[in-house]
């Protein structure tokens, strides 16, 4: 299979996903319907009902929901590489944060002279650090399209370079995981530096508006939630199409028996690189949507702990199933919100226990539990976790749901 064919099949996957929007498949239609049903209902309840109504949904909840959906998208990105290709990335938070910084830079430039120091050219933190002019990499970030392009390009390029270097020299397994962790750790250290020009410790914050809409307004919040839901659905369908395509089947073969796939003539490293780049882009989009909703981006997002937490969302939901990743992210984050409010000290205990319990007792996550109870003796056997089953029987995850 040539290089061009690789990319072509990737694009075919994306195109297929767009087509699927009109004719949704069995499993995904349910998810998309629920997603849109809930977000639309929440939005309507927020905008149309009076504040004292029992069904009124606060703007806080809208933002919280938007945040969860961003995390869901991020979890899906990790699931694509981990669940389908066996690449355990402990550094996906880096792509998420880079996308977020891209959006943050645009939002920062939109503040204009409304900052504390009222400098029309420089963001507050640069005035504070006594910088005289905008660093070159901030040029053009005041244009929305350019900022968005950069927010995709930079993480995409980083994923490409890293993946190309790593996969070409066949770094696999725990070594690869550690390298991804080192990557995000190095980025975190770098972004903590004031000299980097990204606001150092405090990051970018105090945003005012996006494309002329006030970020504090209920309408903007609801619109952002709807956009997030729509993009999540789109990413879901695209990912689903990719994993079901020929490209996706090779990827699963790589996960289960990489050496065998390579001996059959597939340039496995190219499949891995492109899948990794796609996954990084999805994570970057999630980051771009995350920042305007929570209103801040700081180097903490790069911390290895954040990245590894994403992995546990996927593990809880069930890796190798896209809907599992989404459900896992929503569940764990909802639990986190509840838990940290009720007993802040307990959360890390719970999260740690979750890591241990899921990996030891529930290797396929909740999705595995569902499958076991729902379709007992299902027609298609599922791959086991040690990857010893021949590539042929492995298949896209959510088909059985």
């Amino acid at each position: 299979m040539t290089f061009a064919e690789n990319t072509r099949s990737l694009f075919a996957g994306v195109a297929g996903a767009l087509a699927q929007l009109h004719q949704p498949g069995r499993g995904s239609s349910l998810l998309v319907v629920i997603l849109f049903g809930v977000t639309l209902l929440m939005s309507a309840a927020n905008l149309m009902l009076p504040q004292d109504s029992v069904f009124y949904v606060s703007t806080y909840s809208i933002t919280l929901m938007g945040k969860y959906l961003c995390f869901a998208m991020l979890a899906m990105a990790v699931d694509i590489v981990w669940g389908y290709c066996g690449i355990l990335s402990l550094g996906h938070g880096a792509f998420f944060a880079l996308g977020g910084y891209g959006m943050g830079m645009y939002l920062m430039r939109q503040i204009g002279d409304r900052g504390v120091y009222g400098n029309p050219e420089l963001p507050d933190f640069m005035v504070f650090l006594n910088w005289q002019e905008l660093p070159w990499y901030w040029y053009g970030m005041e244009h929305f399209w350019f900022a968005m392009a950069m927010a995709l390009l930079v993480p995409g390029l980083l994923a490409f370079v890293f993946g190309w270097l790593a996969f070409r020299s066949r770094v696999t397994g725990v070594f690869l995981s550690i390298m991804t962790q080192a990557l995000t750790y190095a980025l975190m250290l770098a972004f903590f530096r004031n000299e980097m020009g990204f606001g150092g410790n405090n990051g970018l914050t105090d945003f005012k508006d996006i494309l002329g809409f006030d970020l504090q307004a209920d309408g903007t919040r609801v619109a952002l939630l709807l956009i997030t839901a729509a993009l999540l659905a789109l990413a879901f369908l695209a990912s689903r199409a990719i994993v079901q395509s020929r490209f996706g089947r090779v990827v699963v073969a790589v996960r289960d028996a990489e050496a065998r796939a390579r001996f059959l003539g597939y340039r496995t490293e190219r499949y891995k690189v492109w899948l990794f780049v796609y996954s990084a882009l999805v994570a970057a989009v999630a980051g771009m949507l995350y920042v305007p909703q929570v209103g801040i981006i700081n180097p903490g997002e790069f911390s290895p702990l954040n990245s590894i937490e994403i992995v546990v969302w996927v593990a809880v939901g069930g890796r190798g199933t896209l809907y599992g990743a989404i459900a896992g992210a929503l569940l764990v984050n909802y639990a986190k919100t509840r838990f940290t409010a009720a007993m802040p000290d307990g959360w890390l205990f719970a999260l740690g226990a979750l890591f241990v319990a899921v990996t030891v007792l529930l290797p396929k996550g909740l999705a595995g539990l569902l499958q076991r109870s729902g379709t007992k003796g299902a027609e298609k056997p599922r791959e086991n976790d040690t990857g010893k089953v021949p590539a042929g029987v492995a298949h896209a995850g959510e088909a059985g749901a």
Binding site: G86, L88, F162, L165, A166, R168, S169, R170, V171, G173, V174, F175, S177, I178, M179, Q181, A182, L183, Y185, A186, L189, A190, F192, R193, P304, I308, V311, V312, A315, D345, L348, F349, L351, G352, A353, L354, F355, V356, V358, T359, V360, P363, D385, T386
Partner: protein, 549 residues
């Protein structure tokens, strides 16, 4: 007896060279006890009430009346710790205890006076002029009465202030007979004065010859001044000074290099200690223990607990803490292996996640049991302070001992792996698990023991780290990524590789630091490692033979 004789000679010499015993400069032997007691007490009482201006004069009188007994008083005053009781007027050195309460101690007897109420004591003020006055006075006392090291320090401090009276003092001290190093320093001081005051070119050139290559800061400063302000008209002297300065700079650069090398090796030893346990578990079992950092943390907390249990014997606490930490972390490791890792055989990625969960639980556990704040671990006397090789190079004892300790631990591990039956089994399992099992090795037991050993070593590393960094719940986390890098760099399952990897990463890091700053150096090293892995995916020293894939 000998000492008395010496001071007697000194006194004689003083009397001869300083017949006037002019005010402020003289260090006289202690006057007869009878007359001094009351007089000194009066001076001390006046000191509490004196203005800054009057204090200097009082200090001179005290120096004359008390001699070496006044050293403690002057040092306390110089440090700004000298207080007096508002009512009784008693002078005391005040230090804060860990709770922030002021604790008084009698200056002369050293007797503890207990916690002082805040309002009841008042500080005796010092300004910069008084401080330099005090420093001179301390130097004078040390030079005459101090130990060899104190005399050396005294001459060094006089180099800053080569006043005629100080020079007379030095001459007196030299005549009284001194050790080699002190005599050399006195000669240096005389050369500096000669260069400054003499008008004869040859004398000045000779002075520069003495000064050439000396690392003491005042020497360099004087030469620099000579060249800087252009006041030096003598071309020969200028040229000689230039040469001398160049030689000094060369030597400073060399010792700077040595110092950096030492810092690098010290960082390397910490990395080796942190990573070596990880290398064992990873090499034998193929699993990454993300809770390894927390094993280090447990070791550090064990040190804290041991010190709390034996407050009277801090000097020996580390000797107890090392085996204790090995036991605590080692048994924690065995528990983790039995409870979690055993169930994840052959699934390294899941093991990574599960052990990460364990690390979260341990961190939060420590936060709950102790506190989220850093704990105070005391450094024993024999590990604090530093050894000054020369004025620009000094080596801190704690880093030096930890370097030795790391090498010791490494050697011990090598012996365990190469010479004991456990080591034999461990090597067999790491080379071919199935075959070892067929030969009757109880691999499960070996796994547990290996994990216990690796974790125990991490605990021992924690004891060492508690002497260098803050002991807090995040202690382990900050070392875990670096330790992984060392293991990856050195090659998994290879102790020699870990040693080489740790030291080279440490040294490279420290040599990058001055050029780039600490954080950027760290980042650069990480990036280089990522690139290095591309070229040598199995590390510096890959496993060879059939065991390697």
């Amino acid at each position: 007896m000998k000492h008395l004789l010496l001071t007697g000679c000194l006194l004689l010499a003083l009397v001869m060279t300083l017949p006037a015993a002019s005010a402020g400069s003289a260090v006289s032997e202690q006057p007869a006890p009878g007359e001094s007691g009351g007089e000194r007490q009066a001076l001390l009482t006046r000191l509490t009430q004196a203005s800054l201006r009057e204090s200097a004069e009082l200090l001179d009188q005290l120096e004359r009346s008390g001699g070496r007994e006044m050293r403690g008083l002057f040092a306390t005053m110089l440090a700004g710790d000298l207080y007096y009781h508002r009512e009784s007027g008693q002078l005391m050195a005040v230090r804060k205890n860990p709770d922030g309460e002021p604790i008084g101690r009698d200056i002369f007897s050293g007797e503890e006076l207990g916690v002082q109420a805040r309002g009841s004591i008042k500080k005796i003020r010092v300004n910069n002029r008084l401080r330099s006055h005090l420093r001179d006075a301390i130097a004078r006392i040390d030079l005459m009465h101090g130990s060899e090291a104190q005399r050396e320090a005294a001459v060094l401090s006089i180099l800053d202030d080569l006043s005629p009276q100080n020079m007379r003092l030095l001459q007196a001290a030299a005549d009284a007979g001194q050790g080699d190093r002190v005599r050399e320093l006195i000669a240096l001081a005389q050369a500096m004065v000669q260069l400054r005051d003499s008008a004869v070119t040859d004398e000045r050139l000779a002075a520069i010859a003495v000064m050439s290559g000396r690392l003491e800061a005042p020497v360099r400063n004087q030469l620099q001044r000579l060249l800087d302000d252009g006041g030096e008209g003598d071309g020969k002297v200028r040229a000689a000074a230039q040469l001398a300065l160049a030689e000094i700079d060369d030597r400073i650069a060399f010792y700077g290099f040595v110092e950096q090398l030492f810092f690098g090796l010290s960082l390397g030893s910490v990395l080796v200690l942190a990573a070596i346990g990880l290398a064992i578990t990873f090499g034998v079992m193929g699993v990454i223990n993300m809770a390894h950092g927390e094993m280090i943390m447990l070791g550090a907390y064990t040190t804290y607990v041991v010190q709390q249990l034996m407050p009277g014997a801090i000097e020996y606490s580390l000797l107890v803490a090392v085996p204790a930490a090995f036991l605590v972390s080692g048994s924690a490791g065995v528990l983790i292996e039995r409870g979690v890792i055993r169930h994840l055989q052959g699934r390294p990625l899941e093991t990574l996640l599960a052990t990460f969960g364990v690390s979260l639980i341990l961190q939060q556990g420590v936060r709950t049991i102790f506190s989220p704040l850093n704990m105070q671990v005391v450094t024993p006397e024999w590990m604090s302070g530093s050894f000054a090789v020369n004025p620009v190079l000094s080596i801190t004892y704690n880093r030096f001992y930890i370097l030795l300790f790391a090498l010791l631990v490494f050697a011990l591990l090598q012996v365990i792996l190469k010479k004991t039956s456990l080591g034999l089994k461990v090597r067999a399992v790491s080379q071919n698990r199935d075959m070892a099992k067929s030969m009757g090795v109880r691999t499960e037991l070996v796994d547990a023991m290996t994990f216990g050993l690796g974790s125990g070593i991490a605990g021992v590393a924690g004891v060492a780290l508690s002497q260098l960094t803050n002991v807090g719940p995040n202690l382990g986390q900050s070392y875990i990524i670096d330790s992984f890098m060392v293991v990856v760099f050195g090659g998994a399952g290879n102790l020699l590789g870990t040693l080489a990897g740790g030291f080279s990463l440490g040294v490279v890091n420290k040599f990058l630091e001055p050029a780039t700053g600490a954080v950027l150096a760290n980042i650069l090293v990480l990036l280089c490692l990522i690139l290095f892995i591309q070229k040598r995916p199995k590390g510096l020293f890959p496993q060879r033979g059939r065991a390697a894939e």
